[in-house]
Symmetry: C2
Subunit: 270 residues, 2 copies
């Protein structure tokens, strides 16, 4: 287990290369002992560009993932890789072929179609702006417009979660909870199904807050990081969640992606 | 071309299902005339759960995409789909198998490993918090800490771009440009390679701003949306970009993903 294997993975795309990069991150997370370099080659729109990149793949003995929608480019990669004995994985064409077959519809073969500036795109952009505008309880009027209202005490990842969900098109507002601060009236006007209360383990919060103090160059033993204080905050939050009858998520061992998937799953099943 | 074909696509995952969902969006963007429903089934960790979901796939005659890391689940899906004549596409195992072969290392078969709360995760969370904190020129001290400083006049997608790049781990601060406002001193201390100036077409800005006024219930013909005003703003911004000698990107027909890929590509090639 001590030896670290190393690998070069190249993502080739006629657009951003995001889809294939995600596949690389997901697959390689299963190999904590393998060191890999992910080289992204976006916006390849000319055969000469592709040829240059393929030569690089040969030089690095790389594994190739690609997401070309022009079949000429796909053929060019496949024959090069076959000749040079390089592995190439086609990330989107298996599904494109299946959809073609099932619907008897031809794909448009349009590079960058995944990033079209359509209504859905602009809704997502608005949602991102919304999340920033209504972050941190800045304006409780946002609660009435939001798809989801996230509540939580300090250091429960309210902001990153709100933004992550905004990037998926949801309008999210969040409110930090403190036993001392009064709650905005708007909160009681929100449908409980749209409210999510975040909580965390005492121990975890204490560690996070102590580290935060240290990063500020302060003594970690502040009232902010004391167990008694944290217990009081958690209790206050959980009492409120019960009063609101909202969904409660303990984020202690969850990433924002996981918390987000739980929230969306619960919204869809209501 | 008038007939709309419809299709159900199911994403099955032991984790969030984000990787496969991205593949679905990318592939289906090639079929503007195909209406599809994407049903996401995240966090499948029991065989009985999987069995229930597979029965649903049969009922909907769905195409399945999956990202299971436990081979028993993969086998279960594949034999079910073979028997029932359902198409299933394995999104991450082709690459997992290739990495196993090339590095002679076994994958850990750990669901959710892609969402480990490791240093990289917390760096990304910090970057998201950074982007919100230093959005809209709120505190120019952020420029000195940022990996990338984004400049732009109103409605050039500074905020969504900053957040999108933060989600990839970059610390991004942004500053809105207005001919009237003075520039913070910190701007001149930033390495020009880390500054990006956004610009846009006059026509496009005028339309966006007029629509913004209409959405506010105001007369669209304001100084804010007048061509003369917009021309002056663009000129002011471009003069500044030339003075700073920074990279300039015209975002008029680019999504934030595309703009982001251009910025990262240019950073990597410096």
């Amino acid at each position: 287990m001590s030896k670290i294997h190393s690998l070069t993975i190249m993502v080739l795309s006629d657009s951003v290369g995001g889809t294939a990069s995600n596949v690389v991150h997901a697959a390689l997370s299963q190999f904590p002992n393998v060191e890999y370099e992910l080289k992204n080659f976006p916006f390849i729109r000319e055969q000469s560009q592709l040829q240059t990149v393929l030569e690089k793949a040969k030089k690095f003995n790389a594994v190739i993932l690609h997401t070309f929608v022009d079949t000429m480019f796909v053929d060019m990669i496949e024959s090069f890789c076959f000749e040079q004995d390089i592995t190439c994985i086609d990330v989107i064409n298996p599904l494109i072929k299946e959809v073609t077959a099932q619907t008897n519809t031809m794909p448009q073969h349009k590079p960058g179609a995944n990033h079209m500036l359509d209504d859905k795109y602009f809704d997502r952009i608005s949602a991102l702006e919304f999340a920033v505008k209504y972050d941190d309880g800045k304006d409780p009027k946002g609660f009435l417009e939001a798809d989801i209202v996230v509540l939580g005490i300090s250091r429960t990842s309210k902001t990153p979660l709100s933004i992550y969900m905004a990037n998926q098109g949801y309008k999210v507002a969040n409110l930090p909870l403190m036993p001392e601060s009064s709650l905005p009236d708007e909160l009681w006007q929100v449908d409980e199904k749209r409210i999510v209360g975040l909580t965390n383990e005492e121990e975890m919060l204490s560690n996070i807050r102590r580290e935060r103090m240290i990063s500020y160059g302060m003594n970690p033993e502040t009232p902010y990081s004391s167990m008694e204080r944290i217990r009081r905050e958690i209790q206050f939050a959980e009492d409120l969640y019960n009063k609101l009858n909202c969904k409660i998520i303990n984020v202690s061992s969850k990433s924002i992606e996981e918390t987000s998937a739980i929230i969306i799953d619960s919204l869809n099943n209501h």
